[in-house]
């Protein structure tokens, strides 16, 4: 039983890798479907904007309060700008927003493609000589690879803004002083390494979601199970790969 489960996991992993290889080939060898990419960017990006802004703002505020509490013990409360901005851009923004938006977008992709699969729409595409990878996977991949870093960048800015509010309103640190510290400490590399990781997260989530959608079977129940699996697998993949990608970007 355990061996069977392990074998299925390996098979699933192999299918995601194969789909990834096909998609990368398609992205680089065919003309991009601009209208479809734009449509997906609206669904994935614009429509995630509110949730991303609220999350970024509140994470930044909580971070400021918690950091002030810890730093106060060392008399280092004034360094709150540095801590909030670096934590937000290097780690919290990319990981939290990717988890949040990845779950939302991944679930949406699997539910849509899964429904298409159980209603034979994917078979219909193939029967008319269209390639499902080209029509369905590559526009979603391109759209999410563009959208996710932008969303994370917005969340980072909101997080810094949240820290600004807390500093000014609760900690008696002037806004100007806080912002000076933010810009004094924050390096291009901090933002770049955070955003760099999100490119990988976007690819992982899209491939997992598309693969699960293509494999969904048995009506609403099957689509539901596939969608749940996408959310869980995407979250675990983001959390684990985050560790290795962080190491990688520190070396670079």
């Amino acid at each position: 039983m355990a061996l069977e489960k392990f074998a299925r996991g390996i098979e699933e992993f192999g299918e995601i890798i194969i789909l990834g290889a096909k998609t990368v080939k398609t992205v680089f060898t065919t003309k991009p479907d601009i209208p479809q990419i734009s449509y997906q960017m609206v669904l994935m990006g614009s429509q995630s904007m509110n949730i991303v802004m609220v999350t970024g703002l509140f994470v930044g505020m909580v971070l400021a309060i918690q950091t002030a509490y810890t730093l106060a013990a060392f008399g280092a409360k004034l360094y709150i700008g540095e801590v909030v901005s670096v934590s937000m851009t290097r780690e919290l923004g990319p990981a939290l927003i990717s988890l949040l938006v990845g779950g939302r977008v991944g679930a949406g992709i699997t539910a849509e493609l899964g429904t298409m699969n159980v209603t034979e729409q994917i078979d219909a595409l193939r029967s008319m000589g269209a390639d499902p990878v080209k029509k369905l996977v590559s526009p979603r991949l391109i759209a999410f690879v563009i959208s996710l870093p932008i969303l994370v960048l917005i969340a980072n800015a909101m997080g810094v803004l949240g820290g600004y509010f807390i500093s000014a309103l609760e900690l008696d640190i002037s806004g100007k002083f806080y912002m000076n510290h933010v810009f004094r400490m924050l390096k291009f590399n901090d933002v770049f390494s955070g955003l760099g990781k999100t490119l990988f997260f976007a690819v992982f989530v899209t491939l997992i979601a598309c693969r699960n959608g293509f494999k969904a079977q048995g009506g609403a129940d099957g689509v539901g199970r596939a969608t749940t699996s996408t959310v869980v697998l995407s979250a675990i993949t983001i959390l684990i790969s985050n560790f290795f990608l962080t190491k990688l970007f520190l070396i670079l």
Binding site: T115, T119, E120, Q121, D123, A124, R126, S127, M128, G129
Partner: protein, 247 residues
Amino acid sequence: MKPFVQCSGIKKSFGSKEVLKGVDLIVEEGKTLVILGGSGSGKSVLLKIIIGLLKPDSGRIFIEGEDVTDYSEKELLSIRRKISYMFQWGALFDSMTVFDNVAFPLREMGVSENEVEERVAEKLSILGLKDAGKLFPQDLSGGMKKRVALARSIISEPKCILYDEPTAGLDPITANQINKLIRKMQQMLNITSVVVTHDIKSMFYVADKVAFLYEGIINFYGDIAEAEKSGSDTLKEFIYGGERNGV
């Protein structure tokens, strides 16, 4: 008569369930073959194997004499230009309008947008869907969905159409309209047709030949008159609903 589709010893299993146990079948060019069979007998699986959506476990598929069994998706492209498939529940793309659904095969073939508009409008008009172009599939009734699916199958002017339960779930009047269209298509354009159904009325209307798929093999193959006289009790029961056997 030249065979357009030839299946030889087709076997297909899903898990431990063997659905097709060695199907041999010929579809003659320009004729309509009706494949009869109960629910879950593997009729739709056979259609999907013919067009290459599923691969058989063993056996060979020949299209116009060409062995296409091991063709890749890319190689199957030329076959899928010749054969179109009308899915049981239409399989219309939810995210597209009726017009875009019907236009899809032409756009895939790279036909110019002017020609696409002309041809789609013509087909929609023939099928009584003139004003439905801007609607989405969720706005359509079951009968309209079938007609849109039919329009999409004929738009690229294929040599052969595979119909999967074209009249299932329709009222008798709409079912009759679909039967007439299938017949008209075959007579006017000399299209080879394979109709999978368990609608006996439809079979009598459209069939040149009948094949009865039972327990994974072709239990009977012949024309309608032969089917009626067939010694197979199962086929008789299927056609007459048990009336003649006193069931």
